[in-house]
């Protein structure tokens, strides 16, 4: 992994000063914080410091990362207690004194050091019914959609699957309801499908029964940590909750159903 060399490449002079990083090291059996000191310069992000530590003093320090530009969502961690992407957390955004703590996402089982087992998210996604488009609008097999009609879905599709929203969600983090609740990321995914102008599938029963949408009590922690600034709660979860309520709890709808056989 060569990211550490970026931090030493030329490009202008910059002041460098030592800084201590308190990094959690361990695995499923347990672990503890270790202190590492490395030089920090202008513009550096936390991921740069982790890479420097790997190259200088801990070559076996495990950390997941790819793009280093906030696009792939691999380097999620908890920095000074807040879920963030390490590649997008600049050192000058953190308090200037004291050690910087870096620990793995706590809502997922630890694998090693900063790497966690995020397989829950992949399993949960598979349980959501896939995109099923209506018949094409034009004879050449294409569809027509107005930009205004896709803006809403495009917001959800910005998601980089960093799973920070899952990490901060108390239903998963504190109550460990992974088997009953898919979590905010997958609710955003479901919303992107449900609100897709071409989609014809109905996922409301699943959202209510299998995916546990009722567990969310709208504390909006997920929205706060989203690095893509997706308004997870207001724009995706609440509208989905409203649809579920309309479908299953609305007394008028219930009444209509009695008289309307079929659906």
């Amino acid at each position: 992994m060569a990211g550490q060399h970026n931090s030493t490449s030329s490009g202008g002079s910059s002041e460098r000063a030592p800084r201590t990083f308190r990094v959690w090291r361990g695995d499923a059996r347990g672990g503890q914080f270790h202190d590492y000191t490395t030089q920090v310069g202008e513009g550096m992000v936390v991921l740069d410091a982790i890479h420097q530590i790997q190259a200088e003093s801990a070559p076996d320090l495990a950390c997941r990362w790819n793009c280093k530009a906030g696009k792939c969502g691999s380097c999620s961690a908890e920095i000074n207690g807040t879920p963030r992407l390490m590649c997008m957390t600049r050192m000058d955004q953190l308090p200037p004194d004291g050690p910087v703590t870096v620990e793995p996402m706590r809502a997922f089982p630890p694998v090693r050091d900063l790497v966690t087992d995020v397989s829950h998210n992949f399993r949960a996604k598979k349980s959501i019914k896939k995109f099923t488009p209506r018949k094409p609008d034009a004879p050449d097999g294409t569809w027509r959609m107005q930009q205004a009609d896709v803006d809403r879905v495009q917001e959800f599709r910005k998601c980089i699957e960093c799973f920070l929203c899952q990490d901060v969600c108390h239903v998963l983090r504190d109550h460990h309801k992974h088997d009953e609740f898919v979590g905010p990321r997958l609710l955003v995914y479901a919303a992107a499908l449900e609100m897709h102008p071409l989609d014809t599938e109905n996922r409301l029963a699943d959202l209510k029964n299998r995916h546990g949408i009722g567990y969310c009590n709208i504390t909006k922690c997920c929205t706060k940590v989203c690095p893509e600034h997706i308004t997870i709660t207001d724009n995706s979860i609440i509208p989905l909750k409203e649809r579920v309520v309309d479908e299953f709890y609305d007394p008028l709808t219930k009444l209509f159903r009695i008289f309307k056989p079929g659906k």
Binding site: N6, R64, A69, R157
Partner: protein, 604 residues
């Protein structure tokens, strides 16, 4: 001996970016059992970083566009060293692949009449890139991923392949390890598709992630396959240059497509000063015409900022070397200036280039809606790769296929922006289809345990040397410095000969790399394995670049600054000789059929 698990599939796909996912989907749809092996988590591959768009002549924005114009543009961009069959198939099939993504749930930006919007890009005659803001790659990989997970494909995440397994001439599987535990595994298969991407980590300044270590190139080479066109490495003209830790991160060509201009420290739009003859007829005469083009005026020619990437990168390099650069060794890329032209420009920029806005404000404290960016060239893409058949994507080794960046041919000497995303799906589909056919027509071969054990022994050797061995990170860093400084954007014979010597020394050091600790998620160990691949591709790039004594496309030779008619007649093939040494062989360029030649003439 080390224990390993053996799994059997009809087709194994190595790599899960756009090409690998598309290949896996196709092979699976044809009834094959498919294993998809990815170095990272599913959905994190390099495709996710592609920004600008996906080139396809759908003619939604300009009805003069057609596959023929796209074909001619691609050949012109590649300086006619392209595999013309691939350029033809790519141009013909890309529109269907875009529409297919829409049918699988992709949500592209729209035209006023509700169709898929297309934007301008360098070297493309008409607005041709289907896009989603500046995150088109994310849209593509997520669409393929979300479609693929319902296709019954067995996905193996965070597993790295270290060797291909052969039965006689034929490839019959792959050996790899999982990062989580460091355990080995054999995927036995009737056909193998390489979709491993590129080699950017051979250079110091690159837009590529740690994964891009030339794995597929080296796996194919070691398995006896031909590599082609390895001298052609694309330096993207616009990477970030400041602060140091983000140097090399990509700034999409879409910025220029939306009207961004390049200026030197004196404020001069230097791109107007050097327009190649073969593009003169298609380039704006002045700034006013360039802006009209950006606004969609069909009678205007494109601004010189949208010339091909090789040319723009060299012009930037020249400005910097002449002392006319920006404070941190780049030039200025200005999109904020469009406020002179349109109302609500700040909102417009944030809407069209949201990731760029986000990237600069977060990492560099720069608001691109208000001030110019500083940019400079960054290693971005390799046109060269595994030599494949244009129709089937099969390499010169039976049962081994390649698609996407790891394959060579489509782009010739220089790739046009936007032709990569379409490459992934056009040839990913073809590779998957023909790998499935091959699997059905050929039974399973036999895996030789001695090959497996030998490869495992080599992979684990660094642990035997422990801390006493060389540091893998240090060797990798020295290789990156060598390639950056001696085989970079401007090349000379003397420097490249020095690079070859240095690569020889680095190989000796790499053979002595030691790793301490455990096998679980140990980046030092992983780097020691990747290092072998990086050294192989670095040698291939350097040997080919020495052999091509001319400047063409992405290859610029200071000692041979012009194109040579002689060199236009061959591609360079690299293969492992019987003595184990790398051979460079001239392969005559296949002549174009008359009808394709005519298309090129008509579009000159």
């Amino acid at each position: 001996m080390e224990h390993y698990q053996t799994l059997e599939h009809d087709v194994v796909v190595i790599g899960a970016g756009g090409a690998g996912l598309r290949a896996a989907i196709e092979a699976s749809a044809m009834g094959c059992s498919v294993a998809l092996v990815c170095k990272s988590l599913l959905g994190k591959a390099h495709t996710v970083m592609a920004e600008g768009g996906m080139a396809a002549a759908m003619a939604n924005v300009d009805d003069r566009d057609s596959w023929k114009v796209h074909f001619a543009d691609t050949m012109r961009g590649g300086q006619y060293l392209n595999n013309w069959r691939m350029a033809q198939l790519h141009a013909q099939e890309a529109p269907a692949r875009v529409r297919e993504l829409e049918a699988w749930g992709a949500v592209f930006d729209r035209t006023r009449d509700g169709r898929i919007l297309q934007r301008n890009f360098g070297g493309h005659r008409y607005p041709r890139l289907a896009h989603v803001g500046d995150r088109t790659g994310l849209e593509m990989i997520r669409t393929l991923q979300d479609h693929g997970i319902h296709q019954g494909i067995d996905v193996f995440m965070e597993m790295t392949v270290v060797s291909l397994l052969k039965d006689g001439d034929r490839v019959v599987g792959a050996l790899g390890y999982d990062r989580e535990r460091g355990r080995f595994r054999v995927w036995k298969a009737k056909a193998v598709v390489l979709a491993t991407g590129g080699v950017g980590k051979a250079f110091r300044i690159t837009s590529n992630s740690w994964e891009y270590t030339g794995d597929g190139h080296a796996l194919a080479y070691e398995a006896g396959a031909d590599l082609l066109d390895m001298e052609f490495v694309q330096f993207h003209p616009t990477g970030m240059v400041w602060p140091p830790s983000v140097r090399g991160i990509l700034v999409t060509e879409g910025v220029r497509g939306e009207g961004g201009v390049l200026r030197n420290k004196d404020g001069r739009r230097f791109m107007f000063d050097d327009i190649p003859d073969n593009y003169r007829n298609q380039t704006a005469k002045d700034e006013e015409e360039g802006w009209r083009y950006v606004c969609g005026d069909k009678n205007a020619n494109r601004p010189p900022e949208l010339l091909t990437r090789d040319h723009v990168a060299r012009c930037i390099n020249r400005e910097v070397k002449a002392g006319r650069g920006s404070p941190h060794g780049g030039v200025f890329l200005d999109i904020a200036w469009i406020k002179e032209k349109i109302p609500n420009s700040e909102e417009h920029i944030r809407k069209k280039l949201p990731s760029m806005y986000h990237q600069f404000i977060t990492l560099a404290n720069i608001d691109i809606t208000k001030v110019p960016m500083e940019v400079g060239p960054t290693t971005h893409y390799i046109m060269g790769g595994v030599r494949v058949d244009g129709d089937t994507q099969m390499s010169t080794v039976p049962g081994l296929f390649a698609a996407g960046e790891v394959a060579a041919g489509l782009h010739g000497a220089n790739r046009l922006g936007g032709n990569s995303l379409s490459d992934l799906v056009v040839f990913g589909k073809r590779a998957g289809e023909h790998a499935a056919k091959f699997a059905k027509e050929h039974g399973a071969g036999a895996v030789n345990p001695a090959q497996v054990e030998d490869a495992i022994r080599r992979a684990l050797a660094p642990f035997d040397r422990g801390d006493a061995g060389e540091n893998a990170f240090a060797v990798q860093s020295d290789l990156q410095g060598t390639m950056q400084d001696l085989v970079g954007i401007v090349r000379t014979e003397n420097e490249m000969l020095r690079a070859l010597e240095e690569i020889g020394r680095l190989k000796a050091r790499a053979a002595k790399v030691g790793v301490s600790g455990h096998r679980e998620y140990n980046p030092g160990w992983h780097t020691s394995i990747d290092l072998h691949n990086l050294l192989t591709v670095s040698e291939a790039i350097t040997r080919a670049a020495i052999e091509r004594k001319e400047s063409r496309g992405a290859q610029f030779r200071e000692d041979y600054p012009d194109k040579s008619a002689e060199c236009a007649k061959f591609n360079l093939v690299l293969r492992k000789g019987a003595d184990g040494r790398m051979q460079v062989v001239r392969e005559p360029v296949r002549p174009l059929p008359a009808e394709l030649q005519q298309i090129i003439e008509e579009n000159k």
